[in-house]
Symmetry: C2
Subunit: 198 residues, 2 copies
């Protein structure tokens, strides 16, 4: 659970001040991103955290890294939701509600969609389990079940589905009624995913 042990438990534990700063930065970043979205100023985040900008850049070498850290908890929650829904009797319903939950999280946490979109492929490699891959894996399971139940087209990859969800959220992010719009557009798109027969 601690930042030091979460990524590489074998690494030497962080120094106390380092960890403290790490956490303060993370808290400040969460706050700033919630207010201003994924493009929030890194310097202001450092300022809020009461930390030099160099310290922020040392702890998080790229904006993407910082966002991943900020949203890790939320993403883990979504993955847990997916696991919970996987046991349900209606695979289609499970998939649909989960995608709705992803959208809901994305619109209520500005910047999440952008963070989820940019996978490990662009930006820095050597980035272990990114939000992108975590979400993808969680969704793949739900989609697989729905596919086996013949509730979805067999040729739709989970990446496309998530790209659609994130695209929608990204697009409506700065509208006043983002949640309502995202829901409407997602429903629109989803009905096309469901087979005509079922």
């Amino acid at each position: 659970m601690s930042p030091a042990s979460r990524t590489v438990p074998s690494a030497r534990p962080m120094r106390a001040d380092a960890r403290r700063n790490h956490d303060r930065i993370l808290a400040a970043a969460a706050e700033a991103v919630a207010e201003q979205g994924a493009e929030a100023s890194l310097e202001e985040i450092a300022r809020r955290a009461g930390v030099g900008s160099a310290t922020l850049h040392r702890h998080f070498p790229s904006r993407q890294r910082l966002l991943e850290a900020v949203f890790r908890d939320k993403v883990e929650a979504l993955c847990a939701t997916a696991a919970g829904l996987a046991g349900g009797p209606d695979p289609w319903h499970a998939l649909a509600t989960w995608l709705g939950a992803v959208a809901a999280h994305a619109v209520s946490n500005r910047g999440l969609a952008a963070s989820l979109m940019r996978g490990a492929h662009d930006g820095d490699p050597a980035l272990g389990a990114t939000c992108h891959t975590m979400i993808t894996n969680a969704g793949a399971d739900l989609l697989d079940r729905a596919r086996r139940a013949k509730a979805v087209r067999p040729d739709v990859p989970i990446t496309d589905l998530l790209k659609l969800v994130n695209a929608i959220c990204l697009a409506v992010e700065r509208e006043p009624d983002a949640a309502a719009q995202a829901d409407r557009l997602l429903t629109l798109a989803l009905t096309g995913v469901r087979k005509a027969g079922s």
Copy 2:
């Protein structure tokens, strides 16, 4: 056709040097945006045009204004396409192919989707016929025909449709196979628009 006469024909014609700079800026902007997307540096555009940054800002007070000018031709072409398709026998097909054309333009002209998304509502008002409204009007006609032919759900507004298209294009813009992905995702979303019955 000339920049001076297109917007307000009654206005006094621009001075020769002003018009020359206007055109050079536009050309440089088109080039830069094609390479780097809608976020291209305005200063670099001015530099490419061999013009001071102040001149650029005088001709185009906001980035949005510049993008609108850059894409005006493309948007007009899309509107013309819509008008041409409106006469066809199959309203659904007309709508679908037009949306495909919009997507194709958006992925092959980086920044267009972003420009289309931001309507007149945000940013500066008093912006006459923006790309957003032009496209919306052109699409409304096609959608209306399709709706009258009962080929689409009656409750889907054209704004949602275009938002979906632009969202998709924006999301896949920086992927290597953007065109293919956009097409796939659009088809996915569109099939949900079409009524199950027809």
